[in-house]
Protein backbone atom coordinates (compact mmCIF):
# COMPACT_ATOMS: atom_id res chain seq x y z
CA UNK A 1 0.00 0.00 0.00
CA UNK A 2 1.36 3.41 -0.98
CA UNK A 3 0.44 6.62 0.81
CA UNK A 4 1.31 10.12 -0.22
CA UNK A 5 0.67 13.55 1.17
CA UNK A 6 2.18 16.81 2.32
CA UNK A 7 4.19 16.94 5.48
CA UNK A 8 3.45 18.55 8.83
CA UNK A 9 6.80 18.67 10.59
CA UNK A 10 7.17 18.79 14.38
CA UNK A 11 10.03 18.44 16.87
CA UNK A 12 10.94 15.99 19.65
CA UNK A 13 8.63 14.75 22.42
CA UNK A 14 5.29 15.67 20.89
CA UNK A 15 3.21 14.44 23.83
CA UNK A 16 -0.36 13.15 23.99
CA UNK A 17 -1.40 16.22 25.99
CA UNK A 18 -0.67 18.48 23.02
CA UNK A 19 -2.01 15.97 20.51
CA UNK A 20 -5.34 16.03 22.32
CA UNK A 21 -5.56 17.99 25.59
CA UNK A 22 -7.45 16.40 28.49
CA UNK A 23 -10.08 19.15 28.43
CA UNK A 24 -11.47 17.52 25.29
CA UNK A 25 -11.40 13.96 26.61
CA UNK A 26 -14.95 13.97 27.91
CA UNK A 27 -15.89 12.40 24.60
CA UNK A 28 -14.44 9.52 22.61
CA UNK A 29 -16.01 10.46 19.28
CA UNK A 30 -13.06 10.52 16.83
CA UNK A 31 -14.59 13.33 14.73
CA UNK A 32 -15.00 15.56 17.76
CA UNK A 33 -11.49 14.76 18.94
CA UNK A 34 -10.10 15.56 15.49
CA UNK A 35 -11.46 19.11 15.73
CA UNK A 36 -8.95 19.82 18.51
CA UNK A 37 -6.05 17.73 17.29
CA UNK A 38 -2.66 19.38 18.01
CA UNK A 39 -4.44 22.61 18.93
CA UNK A 40 -1.97 23.67 21.65
CA UNK A 41 1.08 22.96 19.48
CA UNK A 42 -0.08 24.12 16.07
CA UNK A 43 -3.36 26.07 16.20
CA UNK A 44 -3.62 26.03 12.40
CA UNK A 45 -3.22 22.29 12.00
CA UNK A 46 -6.91 21.45 11.79
CA UNK A 47 -7.54 24.18 9.20
CA UNK A 48 -4.60 23.22 6.99
CA UNK A 49 -4.69 19.43 7.11
CA UNK A 50 -6.14 17.58 4.13
CA UNK A 51 -6.96 13.90 3.74
CA UNK A 52 -3.83 11.79 3.33
CA UNK A 53 -1.30 14.24 4.82
CA UNK A 54 1.61 12.90 6.80
CA UNK A 55 3.09 13.95 10.15
CA UNK A 56 6.86 13.79 10.58
CA UNK A 57 8.01 14.09 14.19
CA UNK A 58 11.31 13.81 16.05
CA UNK A 59 12.21 11.63 19.02
CA UNK A 60 9.70 10.07 21.42
CA UNK A 61 6.58 10.99 19.46
CA UNK A 62 3.38 10.40 21.42
CA UNK A 63 4.93 10.39 24.88
CA UNK A 64 2.80 10.77 27.98
CA UNK A 65 -0.57 9.26 28.62
CA UNK A 66 -2.11 6.07 27.29
CA UNK A 67 -5.06 7.90 25.74
CA UNK A 68 -5.90 6.16 22.50
CA UNK A 69 -7.75 9.38 21.74
CA UNK A 70 -4.36 10.69 20.52
CA UNK A 71 -3.84 8.37 17.52
CA UNK A 72 -7.63 8.35 16.99
CA UNK A 73 -7.67 12.15 16.73
CA UNK A 74 -4.72 12.12 14.31
CA UNK A 75 -6.33 9.45 12.17
CA UNK A 76 -9.73 11.15 12.14
CA UNK A 77 -8.09 14.45 11.21
CA UNK A 78 -7.12 12.80 7.95
CA UNK A 79 -3.47 11.96 8.60
CA UNK A 80 -2.53 8.79 6.72
CA UNK A 81 0.78 8.00 8.39
CA UNK A 82 3.14 9.25 11.11
CA UNK A 83 6.90 9.07 10.70
CA UNK A 84 9.25 9.79 13.60
CA UNK A 85 12.76 9.17 14.82
CA UNK A 86 11.22 7.12 17.64
CA UNK A 87 7.80 6.63 19.23
CA UNK A 88 6.72 6.41 22.83
CA UNK A 89 5.80 2.83 23.69
CA UNK A 90 2.08 3.11 24.33
CA UNK A 91 1.51 5.40 21.35
CA UNK A 92 3.28 2.84 19.19
CA UNK A 93 1.03 0.01 20.40
CA UNK A 94 -2.09 2.11 20.12
CA UNK A 95 -1.35 3.15 16.56
CA UNK A 96 -0.81 -0.42 15.47
CA UNK A 97 -3.87 -1.57 17.36
CA UNK A 98 -6.17 1.00 15.73
CA UNK A 99 -4.57 0.68 12.31
CA UNK A 100 -2.78 4.04 12.04
CA UNK A 101 0.39 3.35 10.04
CA UNK A 102 3.57 4.57 11.78
CA UNK A 103 7.19 4.27 10.74
CA UNK A 104 10.43 4.84 12.60
CA UNK A 105 13.13 6.44 10.51
CA UNK A 106 15.72 8.75 12.07
CA UNK A 107 17.05 9.84 8.65
CA UNK A 108 13.64 10.69 7.25
CA UNK A 109 12.75 12.47 10.48
CA UNK A 110 15.88 14.60 10.25
CA UNK A 111 15.80 15.42 6.54
CA UNK A 112 12.18 15.84 5.53
CA UNK A 113 10.87 19.39 5.82
CA UNK A 114 7.54 21.04 6.50
CA UNK A 115 5.28 21.24 3.47
CA UNK A 116 7.20 18.74 1.30
CA UNK A 117 5.33 16.03 -0.52
CA UNK A 118 6.35 12.48 0.35
CA UNK A 119 5.33 8.97 -0.56
CA UNK A 120 5.38 6.00 1.78
CA UNK A 121 5.45 2.36 0.76
CA UNK A 122 4.27 0.59 3.90
CA UNK A 123 4.95 -2.92 2.65
CA UNK A 124 8.60 -2.21 1.90
CA UNK A 125 9.10 0.42 4.58
CA UNK A 126 10.36 2.94 2.01
CA UNK A 127 9.82 6.68 2.37
CA UNK A 128 10.33 8.82 -0.76
CA UNK A 129 10.68 12.58 -0.71
CA UNK A 130 8.86 13.61 -3.90
CA UNK A 131 10.17 17.18 -3.60
CA UNK A 132 13.78 16.39 -2.80
CA UNK A 133 14.12 13.01 -4.48
CA UNK A 134 15.78 11.22 -1.52
CA UNK A 135 14.72 7.79 -0.32
CA UNK A 136 14.80 6.50 3.23
CA UNK A 137 14.36 3.01 4.60
CA UNK A 138 12.57 2.20 7.79
CA UNK A 139 12.61 -0.95 9.84
CA UNK A 140 9.97 -3.43 8.65
CA UNK A 141 7.37 -4.57 11.16
CA UNK A 142 7.91 -7.94 12.82
CA UNK A 143 5.50 -10.59 11.41
CA UNK A 144 3.21 -10.54 14.45
CA UNK A 145 2.59 -6.81 14.14
CA UNK A 146 2.24 -7.03 10.38
CA UNK A 147 -0.49 -9.58 11.02
CA UNK A 148 -2.35 -7.14 13.26
CA UNK A 149 -2.01 -4.32 10.75
CA UNK A 150 -3.08 -6.52 7.86
CA UNK A 151 -6.14 -7.66 9.81
CA UNK A 152 -7.09 -3.99 10.09
CA UNK A 153 -6.21 -3.58 13.76
CA UNK A 154 -6.20 -5.63 16.94
CA UNK A 155 -9.97 -6.00 17.24
CA UNK A 156 -10.26 -7.56 13.80
CA UNK A 157 -7.26 -9.73 14.60
CA UNK A 158 -8.83 -10.99 17.83
CA UNK A 159 -12.13 -11.60 16.07
CA UNK A 160 -10.39 -13.72 13.48
CA UNK A 161 -8.45 -15.66 16.11
CA UNK A 162 -11.54 -16.24 18.23
CA UNK A 163 -13.51 -17.49 15.26
CA UNK A 164 -10.60 -19.67 14.22
CA UNK A 165 -10.74 -21.39 17.58
CA UNK A 166 -14.38 -22.46 17.36
Amino acid sequence: MKLSGKVFKYGDNVDTDVIIPARFLNTSDPEKLAEHCLEDLDPEFTDRVTEGDIIVGGKNFGSGSSREHAPLAIKAAGISCVIAESFARIFYRNSINIGLPILESPEASRSIEEGQKIEVDLQEGIIKNLDGGQEYKSEKFPPFMRDIIQSGGLIEYVKREQLGRH
Binding site: A22, S28, S65, E68, R93, N94, P142, I148, L154, V158
Partner: protein
Protein backbone atom coordinates in the same frame (compact mmCIF):
# COMPACT_ATOMS: atom_id res chain seq x y z
CA UNK B 1 22.65 -16.97 31.38
CA UNK B 2 19.90 -16.02 33.81
CA UNK B 3 16.89 -13.81 33.34
CA UNK B 4 15.81 -10.43 34.68
CA UNK B 5 12.59 -9.98 36.63
CA UNK B 6 10.63 -8.72 33.66
CA UNK B 7 11.82 -11.60 31.49
CA UNK B 8 10.81 -14.11 34.15
CA UNK B 9 7.38 -12.58 34.63
CA UNK B 10 6.64 -12.58 30.90
CA UNK B 11 8.01 -16.11 30.46
CA UNK B 12 5.83 -17.39 33.30
CA UNK B 13 2.74 -15.92 31.65
CA UNK B 14 3.58 -17.11 28.15
CA UNK B 15 4.28 -20.68 29.16
CA UNK B 16 7.95 -20.40 28.18
CA UNK B 17 11.13 -21.51 29.93
CA UNK B 18 13.15 -18.66 28.55
CA UNK B 19 12.46 -15.38 26.77
CA UNK B 20 14.92 -12.74 25.56
CA UNK B 21 14.68 -9.03 24.84
CA UNK B 22 13.09 -8.42 21.47
CA UNK B 23 10.86 -11.52 21.53
CA UNK B 24 7.27 -10.71 20.71
CA UNK B 25 4.70 -12.97 22.25
CA UNK B 26 1.21 -13.34 23.56
CA UNK B 27 0.99 -13.61 27.35
CA UNK B 28 -1.80 -14.16 29.85
CA UNK B 29 -2.60 -11.17 32.03
CA UNK B 30 -3.71 -11.39 35.66
CA UNK B 31 -5.60 -8.12 35.79
CA UNK B 32 -6.99 -5.66 33.26
CA UNK B 33 -7.61 -2.07 34.39
CA UNK B 34 -9.37 0.91 32.90
CA UNK B 35 -10.61 4.35 33.96
CA UNK B 36 -13.41 6.71 32.95
CA UNK B 37 -11.45 8.18 30.03
CA UNK B 38 -10.03 5.03 28.48
CA UNK B 39 -12.71 2.43 29.28
CA UNK B 40 -15.60 3.86 27.24
CA UNK B 41 -13.47 3.42 24.09
CA UNK B 42 -12.45 -0.05 25.26
CA UNK B 43 -16.02 -1.09 26.00
CA UNK B 44 -17.11 0.02 22.54
CA UNK B 45 -14.26 -1.97 20.96
CA UNK B 46 -15.00 -4.96 23.19
CA UNK B 47 -18.56 -5.03 21.88
CA UNK B 48 -17.27 -5.12 18.29
CA UNK B 49 -15.45 -8.39 18.96
CA UNK B 50 -18.76 -10.16 19.32
CA UNK B 51 -18.11 -11.89 22.64
CA UNK B 52 -20.76 -11.28 25.25
CA UNK B 53 -18.78 -11.78 28.45
CA UNK B 54 -15.40 -10.65 29.75
CA UNK B 55 -12.89 -13.48 30.18
CA UNK B 56 -13.16 -13.30 33.98
CA UNK B 57 -15.34 -10.83 35.94
CA UNK B 58 -12.88 -11.10 38.85
CA UNK B 59 -9.99 -9.84 36.74
CA UNK B 60 -11.33 -6.70 35.13
CA UNK B 61 -11.02 -3.56 37.26
CA UNK B 62 -12.82 -0.31 36.47
CA UNK B 63 -12.07 2.90 38.35
CA UNK B 64 -13.80 6.16 37.50
CA UNK B 65 -11.21 8.62 38.81
CA UNK B 66 -10.28 11.17 36.14
CA UNK B 67 -13.35 13.36 35.64
CA UNK B 68 -15.20 12.18 38.73
CA UNK B 69 -17.16 13.18 40.70
CA UNK B 70 -18.59 13.91 37.26
CA UNK B 71 -17.33 17.30 36.17
CA UNK B 72 -19.89 17.90 33.42
CA UNK B 73 -22.61 16.19 31.42
CA UNK B 74 -20.28 14.54 28.92
CA UNK B 75 -18.14 13.13 31.73
CA UNK B 76 -21.25 11.88 33.46
CA UNK B 77 -22.18 10.03 30.28
CA UNK B 78 -18.72 8.46 30.09
CA UNK B 79 -18.78 7.39 33.74
CA UNK B 80 -22.22 5.92 33.22
CA UNK B 81 -20.88 3.68 30.46
CA UNK B 82 -18.46 2.19 33.00
CA UNK B 83 -21.07 1.72 35.66
CA UNK B 84 -23.51 0.00 33.30
CA UNK B 85 -20.83 -2.26 31.89
CA UNK B 86 -19.65 -3.18 35.40
CA UNK B 87 -23.21 -4.14 36.40
CA UNK B 88 -24.00 -5.98 33.21
CA UNK B 89 -20.76 -7.98 33.39
CA UNK B 90 -21.03 -8.40 37.17
CA UNK B 91 -17.49 -7.14 37.65
CA UNK B 92 -16.12 -7.78 41.09
CA UNK B 93 -13.86 -4.74 41.13
CA UNK B 94 -15.74 -1.65 40.15
CA UNK B 95 -15.14 1.20 42.58
CA UNK B 96 -17.94 3.73 42.94
CA UNK B 97 -17.57 7.22 44.38
CA UNK B 98 -17.40 6.76 48.12
CA UNK B 99 -15.10 3.78 47.97
CA UNK B 100 -12.89 4.76 45.09
CA UNK B 101 -9.55 6.40 44.77
CA UNK B 102 -7.00 7.28 42.14
CA UNK B 103 -6.52 3.93 40.43
CA UNK B 104 -2.80 3.56 41.11
CA UNK B 105 -3.21 4.34 44.80
CA UNK B 106 -6.26 2.11 45.00
CA UNK B 107 -5.09 -1.15 43.40
CA UNK B 108 -2.09 -1.73 45.67
CA UNK B 109 -4.15 -0.72 48.72
CA UNK B 110 -6.85 -3.25 47.78
CA UNK B 111 -4.31 -6.02 47.25
CA UNK B 112 -5.10 -6.20 43.54
CA UNK B 113 -1.52 -5.72 42.32
CA UNK B 114 0.63 -8.67 43.32
CA UNK B 115 4.28 -9.71 42.94
CA UNK B 116 5.03 -11.78 39.86
CA UNK B 117 1.72 -10.89 38.20
CA UNK B 118 0.97 -8.99 35.01
CA UNK B 119 -1.42 -6.07 35.20
CA UNK B 120 -2.15 -4.14 32.08
CA UNK B 121 -3.98 -0.89 32.45
CA UNK B 122 -5.38 1.55 29.96
CA UNK B 123 -3.51 4.23 31.84
CA UNK B 124 0.14 5.04 31.45
CA UNK B 125 0.92 5.07 35.18
CA UNK B 126 0.03 1.39 35.54
CA UNK B 127 3.80 1.04 35.91
CA UNK B 128 3.27 2.02 39.58
CA UNK B 129 2.77 -1.67 40.47
CA UNK B 130 6.41 -2.34 39.70
CA UNK B 131 6.93 -1.23 43.30
CA UNK B 132 5.34 -4.52 44.36
CA UNK B 133 7.34 -6.60 41.91
CA UNK B 134 4.44 -6.80 39.46
CA UNK B 135 4.75 -6.16 35.78
CA UNK B 136 2.32 -3.29 35.57
CA UNK B 137 2.34 -1.57 32.23
CA UNK B 138 0.23 0.95 30.40
CA UNK B 139 -1.62 0.07 27.24
CA UNK B 140 -4.37 1.66 25.18
CA UNK B 141 -8.10 1.11 25.05
CA UNK B 142 -7.96 -1.40 22.22
CA UNK B 143 -5.44 -3.51 24.13
CA UNK B 144 -7.76 -3.33 27.10
CA UNK B 145 -10.70 -4.43 24.96
CA UNK B 146 -8.80 -7.39 23.52
CA UNK B 147 -7.57 -8.40 26.98
CA UNK B 148 -11.07 -8.17 28.46
CA UNK B 149 -12.17 -10.60 25.76
CA UNK B 150 -9.24 -13.01 25.77
CA UNK B 151 -7.28 -12.51 29.00
CA UNK B 152 -4.19 -11.98 26.89
CA UNK B 153 -2.06 -9.21 25.47
CA UNK B 154 0.94 -9.02 23.16
CA UNK B 155 4.29 -8.01 24.57
CA UNK B 156 7.72 -7.28 23.24
CA UNK B 157 10.18 -8.46 25.88
CA UNK B 158 12.12 -5.33 26.91
CA UNK B 159 15.80 -5.06 27.73
CA UNK B 160 16.46 -3.98 31.32
CA UNK B 161 18.42 -1.06 32.72
CA UNK B 162 19.52 -1.60 36.29
CA UNK B 163 19.66 1.44 38.56
CA UNK B 164 21.64 1.16 41.76
CA UNK B 165 21.13 3.80 44.46
CA UNK B 166 23.59 3.96 47.34
CA UNK B 167 24.60 6.35 50.09
CA UNK B 168 22.41 8.23 52.53
CA UNK B 169 19.69 10.67 51.66
CA UNK B 170 19.89 14.29 52.80
CA UNK B 171 17.10 15.54 55.04
CA UNK B 172 13.94 16.42 53.04
CA UNK B 173 15.09 14.36 50.08
CA UNK B 174 12.98 11.32 49.20
CA UNK B 175 11.62 9.03 46.52
CA UNK B 176 10.21 11.83 44.36
CA UNK B 177 13.58 13.57 44.26
CA UNK B 178 15.32 10.31 43.33
CA UNK B 179 13.03 9.62 40.41
CA UNK B 180 13.09 13.23 39.16
CA UNK B 181 16.87 13.15 39.38
CA UNK B 182 16.97 9.87 37.46
CA UNK B 183 14.70 11.17 34.69
CA UNK B 184 16.77 14.34 34.55
CA UNK B 185 19.84 12.19 34.07
CA UNK B 186 18.61 9.75 31.41
CA UNK B 187 15.96 11.92 29.72
CA UNK B 188 12.31 11.39 28.83
CA UNK B 189 13.24 8.71 26.32
CA UNK B 190 16.17 7.34 28.33
CA UNK B 191 14.37 4.06 28.99
CA UNK B 192 12.18 3.95 25.87
CA UNK B 193 10.72 0.43 25.37
CA UNK B 194 12.80 -0.74 28.36
CA UNK B 195 12.31 -2.14 31.81
CA UNK B 196 13.80 -0.09 34.63
CA UNK B 197 14.89 -2.01 37.70
CA UNK B 198 15.42 0.09 40.83
CA UNK B 199 17.86 -1.50 43.27
CA UNK B 200 20.34 -0.75 46.03
CA UNK B 201 20.27 -0.03 49.74
CA UNK B 202 18.40 3.23 49.27
CA UNK B 203 15.52 1.46 47.55
CA UNK B 204 15.57 -1.30 50.18
CA UNK B 205 15.13 1.37 52.82
CA UNK B 206 12.28 3.19 51.10
CA UNK B 207 8.77 2.65 52.41
CA UNK B 208 6.19 1.04 50.11
CA UNK B 209 4.71 4.50 49.54
CA UNK B 210 8.11 5.79 48.44
CA UNK B 211 8.71 2.83 46.18
CA UNK B 212 5.37 3.45 44.47
CA UNK B 213 6.36 7.06 43.84
CA UNK B 214 9.49 5.84 42.08
CA UNK B 215 7.89 3.13 39.95
CA UNK B 216 5.02 5.48 39.09
CA UNK B 217 7.29 7.74 37.07
CA UNK B 218 9.11 5.06 35.03
CA UNK B 219 6.85 6.03 32.13
CA UNK B 220 8.23 9.57 32.30
CA UNK B 221 11.54 8.11 31.13
CA UNK B 222 9.72 6.14 28.43
CA UNK B 223 9.94 2.90 30.42
CA UNK B 224 7.67 -0.08 30.02
CA UNK B 225 7.86 -0.76 33.73
CA UNK B 226 9.78 0.22 36.86
CA UNK B 227 10.41 -2.89 38.91
CA UNK B 228 11.51 -3.26 42.51
CA UNK B 229 12.38 -6.60 44.05
CA UNK B 230 9.61 -7.74 46.42
CA UNK B 231 11.00 -8.18 49.95
CA UNK B 232 9.78 -8.53 53.50
CA UNK B 233 8.31 -5.04 53.42
CA UNK B 234 6.30 -5.96 50.36
CA UNK B 235 5.04 -9.11 52.04
CA UNK B 236 4.06 -7.25 55.18
CA UNK B 237 2.27 -4.63 53.12
CA UNK B 238 0.30 -7.33 51.34
CA UNK B 239 -0.40 -9.45 54.41
CA UNK B 240 -4.01 -8.46 54.96
CA UNK B 241 -4.64 -7.16 51.49
CA UNK B 242 -3.63 -9.66 48.81
CA UNK B 243 -6.73 -11.07 47.17
CA UNK B 244 -4.94 -14.33 46.33
CA UNK B 245 -1.65 -16.18 46.78
CA UNK B 246 1.18 -15.00 44.62
CA UNK B 247 4.62 -16.11 43.48
CA UNK B 248 7.28 -13.40 43.61
CA UNK B 249 9.92 -13.53 40.87
CA UNK B 250 13.43 -12.12 41.13
CA UNK B 251 16.23 -11.27 38.72
CA UNK B 252 18.94 -13.93 38.59
CA UNK B 253 22.45 -13.09 39.76
CA UNK B 254 23.73 -13.65 36.23
CA UNK B 255 20.86 -11.89 34.45
CA UNK B 256 21.86 -9.81 31.49
CA UNK B 257 21.29 -6.07 31.77
CA UNK B 258 21.59 -3.65 28.93
CA UNK B 259 23.17 -1.12 31.25
CA UNK B 260 23.84 -0.46 34.89
CA UNK B 261 23.59 3.09 36.21
CA UNK B 262 24.81 3.95 39.70
CA UNK B 263 23.92 6.96 41.80
CA UNK B 264 25.40 8.17 45.05
CA UNK B 265 22.33 9.78 46.55
CA UNK B 266 24.24 11.73 49.20
CA UNK B 267 24.76 14.68 46.91
CA UNK B 268 21.18 14.88 45.64
CA UNK B 269 19.22 17.98 46.76
CA UNK B 270 15.45 18.28 46.57
CA UNK B 271 14.65 18.32 42.85
CA UNK B 272 12.41 20.52 40.74
CA UNK B 273 11.37 19.66 37.24
CA UNK B 274 10.88 22.80 35.15
CA UNK B 275 8.31 23.20 32.38
CA UNK B 276 7.61 21.61 29.97
CA UNK B 277 9.30 18.24 30.34
CA UNK B 278 9.92 16.04 33.38
CA UNK B 279 13.58 15.75 32.32
CA UNK B 280 14.17 19.48 32.89
CA UNK B 281 15.23 18.71 36.41
CA UNK B 282 17.20 21.16 38.54
CA UNK B 283 18.33 21.18 42.14
CA UNK B 284 15.92 23.23 44.25
CA UNK B 285 18.65 25.79 44.96
CA UNK B 286 18.48 26.86 41.30
CA UNK B 287 14.75 27.50 41.52
CA UNK B 288 14.53 29.20 44.88
CA UNK B 289 12.47 32.38 44.94
CA UNK B 290 10.28 31.50 41.98
CA UNK B 291 6.76 32.70 42.81
CA UNK B 292 3.78 30.38 42.44
CA UNK B 293 -0.01 30.80 42.23
CA UNK B 294 -1.03 27.26 43.09
CA UNK B 295 0.36 24.28 44.98
CA UNK B 296 -1.10 20.86 44.24
CA UNK B 297 -0.42 17.97 46.62
CA UNK B 298 -1.72 14.56 45.62
CA UNK B 299 -2.05 12.31 42.53
CA UNK B 300 -0.99 8.73 41.88
CA UNK B 301 2.60 9.89 42.35
CA UNK B 302 2.29 11.59 45.74
CA UNK B 303 -1.20 11.18 47.16
CA UNK B 304 -0.38 8.50 49.74
CA UNK B 305 -0.44 8.81 53.53
CA UNK B 306 3.28 9.40 53.83
CA UNK B 307 3.05 12.23 51.30
CA UNK B 308 0.21 13.90 53.19
CA UNK B 309 2.10 13.52 56.47
CA UNK B 310 5.13 15.24 54.95
CA UNK B 311 3.01 18.12 53.69
CA UNK B 312 1.40 18.48 57.11
CA UNK B 313 4.76 18.40 58.84
CA UNK B 314 5.84 21.39 56.78
CA UNK B 315 2.56 23.28 57.06
CA UNK B 316 1.92 22.68 60.76
CA UNK B 317 1.56 26.02 62.52
CA UNK B 318 2.03 27.90 59.24
CA UNK B 319 -0.43 29.56 56.90
CA UNK B 320 -0.78 29.26 53.17
CA UNK B 321 0.31 32.57 51.69
CA UNK B 322 -2.55 34.86 50.53
CA UNK B 323 -1.36 34.77 46.94
CA UNK B 324 -1.49 30.96 46.75
CA UNK B 325 -4.23 28.35 46.32
CA UNK B 326 -3.15 25.12 47.99
CA UNK B 327 -5.07 22.02 46.91
CA UNK B 328 -4.71 18.61 48.55
CA UNK B 329 -6.02 15.40 46.98
CA UNK B 330 -5.73 12.24 49.08
CA UNK B 331 -5.23 9.20 46.84
CA UNK B 332 -8.07 7.04 48.18
CA UNK B 333 -10.92 7.11 50.67
CA UNK B 334 -8.84 4.98 53.06
CA UNK B 335 -5.89 7.33 52.84
CA UNK B 336 -8.26 10.25 53.45
CA UNK B 337 -9.69 8.53 56.48
CA UNK B 338 -6.31 7.65 57.89
CA UNK B 339 -5.15 11.24 57.40
CA UNK B 340 -8.26 12.41 59.25
CA UNK B 341 -7.62 10.05 62.14
CA UNK B 342 -4.01 11.13 62.40
CA UNK B 343 -4.92 14.81 62.44
CA UNK B 344 -3.09 15.39 59.18
CA UNK B 345 -6.17 16.77 57.43
CA UNK B 346 -6.87 19.14 60.30
CA UNK B 347 -3.34 20.50 60.14
CA UNK B 348 -3.63 21.07 56.40
CA UNK B 349 -7.02 22.76 56.66
CA UNK B 350 -5.88 24.95 59.53
CA UNK B 351 -3.01 26.09 57.37
CA UNK B 352 -5.49 27.08 54.68
CA UNK B 353 -5.31 24.18 52.24
CA UNK B 354 -8.42 23.01 50.37
CA UNK B 355 -8.80 19.25 50.80
CA UNK B 356 -10.77 17.29 48.22
CA UNK B 357 -12.32 13.88 47.84
CA UNK B 358 -9.99 11.58 45.82
CA UNK B 359 -9.85 12.44 42.11
CA UNK B 360 -7.26 12.97 39.40
CA UNK B 361 -8.67 16.50 39.15
CA UNK B 362 -6.04 19.07 38.28
CA UNK B 363 -3.26 16.55 37.61
CA UNK B 364 -4.35 16.25 34.00
CA UNK B 365 -6.02 19.63 33.75
CA UNK B 366 -9.35 17.91 34.21
CA UNK B 367 -11.16 19.93 36.85
CA UNK B 368 -10.89 21.34 40.39
CA UNK B 369 -7.76 23.41 39.97
CA UNK B 370 -7.26 24.50 36.37
CA UNK B 371 -4.62 27.16 35.71
CA UNK B 372 -5.29 30.42 33.84
CA UNK B 373 -2.92 31.90 31.26
CA UNK B 374 0.33 32.98 32.84
CA UNK B 375 -0.24 31.14 36.11
CA UNK B 376 2.36 28.93 37.70
CA UNK B 377 1.88 25.85 39.86
CA UNK B 378 4.17 23.70 41.89
CA UNK B 379 2.77 20.20 41.86
CA UNK B 380 3.57 16.78 43.27
CA UNK B 381 2.15 15.19 40.11
CA UNK B 382 4.19 13.63 37.34
CA UNK B 383 3.84 15.67 34.15
CA UNK B 384 4.52 19.27 33.30
CA UNK B 385 3.76 19.25 29.58
CA UNK B 386 2.39 22.31 27.78
CA UNK B 387 -1.20 22.83 28.94
CA UNK B 388 -1.14 19.83 31.27
CA UNK B 389 -2.88 21.66 34.13
CA UNK B 390 -4.88 24.16 32.13
CA UNK B 391 -4.12 27.04 29.79
CA UNK B 392 -1.31 26.38 27.33
CA UNK B 393 0.48 29.45 28.68
CA UNK B 394 0.45 28.16 32.26
CA UNK B 395 3.41 26.43 33.91
CA UNK B 396 3.83 23.38 36.11
CA UNK B 397 6.91 22.74 38.26
CA UNK B 398 7.14 19.22 39.64
CA UNK B 399 8.37 18.59 43.17
CA UNK B 400 8.05 16.46 46.29
CA UNK B 401 5.18 17.04 48.77
CA UNK B 402 7.51 18.73 51.27
CA UNK B 403 8.71 21.26 48.71
CA UNK B 404 5.19 21.94 47.42
CA UNK B 405 3.98 22.51 50.97
CA UNK B 406 6.88 24.86 51.70
CA UNK B 407 6.09 26.82 48.55
CA UNK B 408 2.43 27.08 49.56
CA UNK B 409 3.48 28.69 52.81
CA UNK B 410 6.05 31.10 51.42
CA UNK B 411 4.49 31.82 48.04
CA UNK B 412 7.67 30.87 46.24
CA UNK B 413 9.91 27.83 45.83
CA UNK B 414 12.01 27.36 48.92
CA UNK B 415 13.76 24.59 50.83
CA UNK B 416 11.42 23.00 53.41
CA UNK B 417 14.04 23.56 56.12
CA UNK B 418 13.43 27.30 55.72
CA UNK B 419 9.81 26.74 56.75
CA UNK B 420 10.27 24.09 59.43
CA UNK B 421 12.78 25.62 61.75
Amino acid sequence: MGMTMVEKIIAAHADKQKVSPGDILLAEVDMVLGNDITSPVAIEEFKKIGISEVFDPGRVILVPDHFTPNKDINSAQQAKILRSFAREQELEYYFEIGEMGIEHCLLPEQGLALPGEIIIGADSHTCTYGALGALGTGVGSTDMAAAMATGKAWFRVPPTIKFVYSGSLQPWVGAKDLILYTIGDIGVDGALYKSMEFTGEVIDNLSMDGRMTMSNMAIEAGGKCGLIKPDEKTQNYLKNRAIRDYTPLYSDEDAEYEKEIRYDVGKIEPQISFPHLPENTHPLSEAEGLEIDQAVIGSCTNGRIEDLRKAAEVMAGNKVRDSVRCLVFPGTQKIYQQALQEGVIETLIEAGAAVSTPTCGPCLGGHMGILAAGERAVSTTNRNFVGRMGHKESEVYLSSPAVAAAAAVKGYLVHPEEVVK
